[in-house]
Symmetry: C2
């Protein structure tokens, strides 16, 4: 048996221990912060040693037939006790560990999953299905007091590409596979899933499917949902498998009830996923706009054009300054097209026209560039350099958290007609609340994904916090901003899921009849209520 | 109050009485049939007079507060007693009327719907939500014996465009609006829903949403589901309204539980729908292929190219002969692109390249044609001429049914890797069963919609029937072909929905856990089980 992928991973923060920021990187970060926020204190707080934490002994033990699947190692349990949100990392750094799973269970087969759910249902043990644990919404955290025990069901050993259908371009894939390992197994087929969320290296197919993960593409097939052909799911009430179908007119979609169900209705064990050839042609433009509103209009026109760029990411001036080094006060639109079938010149030309119509300027257009190699994750070009910086962001966030900074994001999706008013109130509210809570702070905005009927704005929040109160300070900011989302009937999340952190606002936006229906489904598929209690729905509220 | 749209409509067959085939059209049709099927008898059978039919008096009456919404006119009740499948038309022609609704109820507001459902739930009266009544799967037919009575809830009076959001390109639309009336109300905004199923003139937005209607586009956004931003639904348990959201990461989709629910979970009262500008640029090619398999390969490559044509319809040689007048034995691929934003030259050029790679020939390509007017439904060009013929097909089917012909279609969707074997067995089985049942018959195939991972083949079946046994003869053919679909794990329907006719095969393909979940949802939203009993799910089977 191979070692767990958790070996070498940080128990308290993002990613791999050896990939954490270097001393030089840390000093550079701190210099930038000092320039922006001269009053920030920036004292370093090291993570506690797990052995110094008062981790309770396991409250329950698995029966002997399942014991071989279970780890009760303290660091393993701590590493699985919560996700990777800013508030998770900070609480870990503060030694505030909360409830920790009694065991980490790693099934090696679907039958193992069935057996664990059977045992847990009869023994009143909560089960938290777990992919890569990159949740930023409290999705894998046992934040509840009931149940005799709780185990985390880590799917990492179900990580095989089982079958490839090169004709239909699809693959049957086990849910526990991590992004890089999946792409590695697909390489010889020439096919790729081409789903690259920021968490790519530390998240799994099953996690993506359970949380509406959004990946590489900024338009069209943004969410993993659209790449899913069929699902196999193990629920306490039984196994379910849908047919491989490109589309269907036969009743409400069985898969759409599971997609986004966050482990509350069943454990996704495998899926047939739509694949594609690696792109051969790519072309990209980076445009600057003096006026953010003009950039928004250009982005909307592109989103409504039917061109379907692979990348269409708008950065406001603050975001462009902080994360792309643009110091002119310009907003930046990164536009790219790619294809495995044809050159993208016509697409890029029209994108450029739209940019110019709205007053955008393009320093050095690489129109219709014709490449024969997919370089999107290879680090060989400037887009990859940006991607590499993008992938470093969570490590940098953790370093800044160690110095008492508040560094977190929130995202939403809304219709174009609502965006201006929503954006204005979010920014004003953030500034007001940060002034109250921390004295000062910055809010930045970018569009990560755009649709014909609306954008998915993604906000960065940066403020100097007070070490002892960091989670409370962030919660206060987040609560105020989430209330603004609700007021404007925007979504509480575009692709971070609901988990436990978003529940109050999700409950507001979810239609009451659907809540009752979802509770009925939960009671049917999980009669003992053991699956990830507290996410999405409390069936007892809808008797 | 305006007259019902049913005034002037045929109670027994398709469409408007005055639009039925003319004597000349009928004679031309019969000549073509005689050439293909010399043994066909072709005796004319006129529809019975409603007054000669033994339509029972209503078994229940609405309370006085709702009586003003109800019609008990015999022709109105007969016209609502079933849909427009071949077997529906033939049974009507034979005077075999089955159960007829006790009343046709036409709500004028959402409150009327609430009141009708309240009364029906307490009085054990079944309610069949009804849009245009164009179901071809027994979706609006009271094919059950229980319940004290049954009323059809015809939404035709809820037919207003309530609001247009030109920025996000969306509209709030009442569910009972018919296709042409919706487009008429949208005209001044410059926007269009651009959803044109064959039933366009005789079907409604609510019906489309409840049955996964597939429309104009042959790729990408094929089903109405993808055009839906949010839904308002009246269920016996209460009202439900989802937020307008371009996309969501917040839990299983509430709308996807209602889309395709066929009136069994609630009555869709209104929806925010995604709209678009009318296309300005269109380009089309009609290609011929000597070899059907090569045509299939070309179509697959186009479906996987990322070009997303608006039209990509492949006709096999039999289909091309019967419905496009091509007598060379060639398969025909109709490929078209359209855009409101940009010329489609590059798209069409690449489409043509793919066609040539696979040996297709193009008699007269109209590459990159630049039009400034949307002519897709105006009858002004050859595509519109084909569309007009397409729209005549149901009238011609009815005329042939009157002469004892079996003329019906069935459709499916499957993955590309499965298509060849499925297609072969379907054709062989059809020929074998038709030989047994009718002595002879033809089966034709076209792709109505294509996806990167598979096509939606649509089959036409033509055979000389025996008047007294036409429904039974068709049922025997349909049963054999549906069994083949099941054997190959293809879908029982791409866009005709499940209704009552597809239930046995839908039950086979629906995952058991999902069936149990759906039954739980049904019991929650419709506790008295009054909504369209018999479609999709029998909750009593999943206690």
């Amino acid at each position: 048996m191979t070692a767990s992928v958790h070996v070498g991973r940080s128990w308290w923060g993002w990613g791999r221990i050896e990939a954490a920021v270097t001393a030089g990187e840390r000093e550079a970060l701190l210099s930038r912060v000092r320039a922006l926020l001269p009053t920030a204190e920036l004292t370093l707080h090291e993570a506690p040693e797990p052995s110094d934490l008062d981790v309770p002994k396991p409250a329950v033990a698995l029966p002997s037939s399942l014991a071989k699947l279970a780890s009760t190692d303290v660091v393993d349990r701590l590493a699985h006790a919560r996700g990777k949100a800013y508030r998770d990392v900070v609480r870990n750094l503060q030694g505030d560990i909360g409830r920790v799973p009694d065991a980490v269970v790693r099934p090696t087969s679907e039958q193992d999953i069935v057996d664990v759910l059977d045992w847990a249902s009869s023994a009143d043990v909560a089960v938290i299905p777990y992919g890569g644990g990159s949740s930023v919404v409290g999705g894998v955290e046992p934040r509840f007091d009931d149940h005799a025990g709780v185990v985390t069901l880590d799917l990492e050993r179900l990580n095989h590409l089982l079958e490839v259908d090169p004709v239909s371009r699809a693959g049957l894939i086990e849910a526990g596979v991590y992004g890089p390992h999946l792409e590695e197994q697909l390489r010889s087929s020439g096919l790729t899933l081409r789903h690259f969320p920021q968490s790519f290296e530390f998240s799994t197919l099953g996690g993506w499917l359970a949380t509406h993960s959004a990946g590489h593409y900024a338009t069209l097939f943004t969410h993993i949902d659209d790449l899913c052909e069929s699902l196999r799911v193990v629920s306490p009430s039984g196994m379910s498998e849908s047919r491989r179908l490109p589309a269907s007119g036969a009743g409400p979609s069985p898969d759409r009830l599971i997609l986004g169900s966050e482990g509350a209705l069943g454990v996704i064990s495998r899926a047939w996923m739509r694949l594609q050839l690696r792109p051969r042609w790519r072309g990209q433009i980076t445009a600057h706009f003096a006026d953010f509103n003009a950039a928004v209009q250009a982005t909307r026109m592109i989103a409504q054009s039917g061109l379907y760029p692979s990348n269409c990411r708008l950065l406001d001036a603050a975001e462009a300054m902080l994360n792309a080094g643009v110091r002119t006060g310009a907003s930046v639109l990164a536009l790219a097209f790619e294809s495995a079938d044809h050159p993208v010149t016509a697409w890029l030309d029209r994108g450029l026209e739209i940019i110019k119509i709205h007053g955008g300027t393009v320093p050095s257009p690489a129109i219709g560039s014709d490449t024969t190699e997919d370089t999107s994750v290879s680090g060989a070009d400037s887009a990859a350099a940006w991607r590499s910086a993008f992938i470093r962001m969570p490590y940098q966030r953790d370093a800044l958290a160690q110095h008492g900074m508040i560094v977190e994001t929130l995202e939403t999706v809304t219709t174009w007609d609502s965006f201006d008013a929503l954006h204005e109130e979010l920014v004003v509210t953030a500034q007001r609340v940060m002034q109250t809570v921390t004295g000062f702070g910055l809010i930045t905005c970018r569009f990560t994904h755009v649709y014909p009927d609306g954008p998915a704005p993604y906000y960065g929040v940066y403020a100097p916090g007070r070490w002892d109160s960091l989670p409370q300070q962030w919660d206060e900011i987040k609560r105020a901003l989430s209330d603004v989302l609700s007021k404007h009937r925007a979504n509480i999340t575009h692709h971070h899921a609901v988990g436990r952190d978003h529940r109050p606002w999700y409950d507001q936006q979810r239609p009451d009849s659907f809540a009752a229906a979802l509770a009925a489904v939960k009671r049917t598929l999980d009669p003992a209520g053991i699956l990830n209690p507290g996410v999405l729905i409390d069936p007892m509220q809808f008797p």
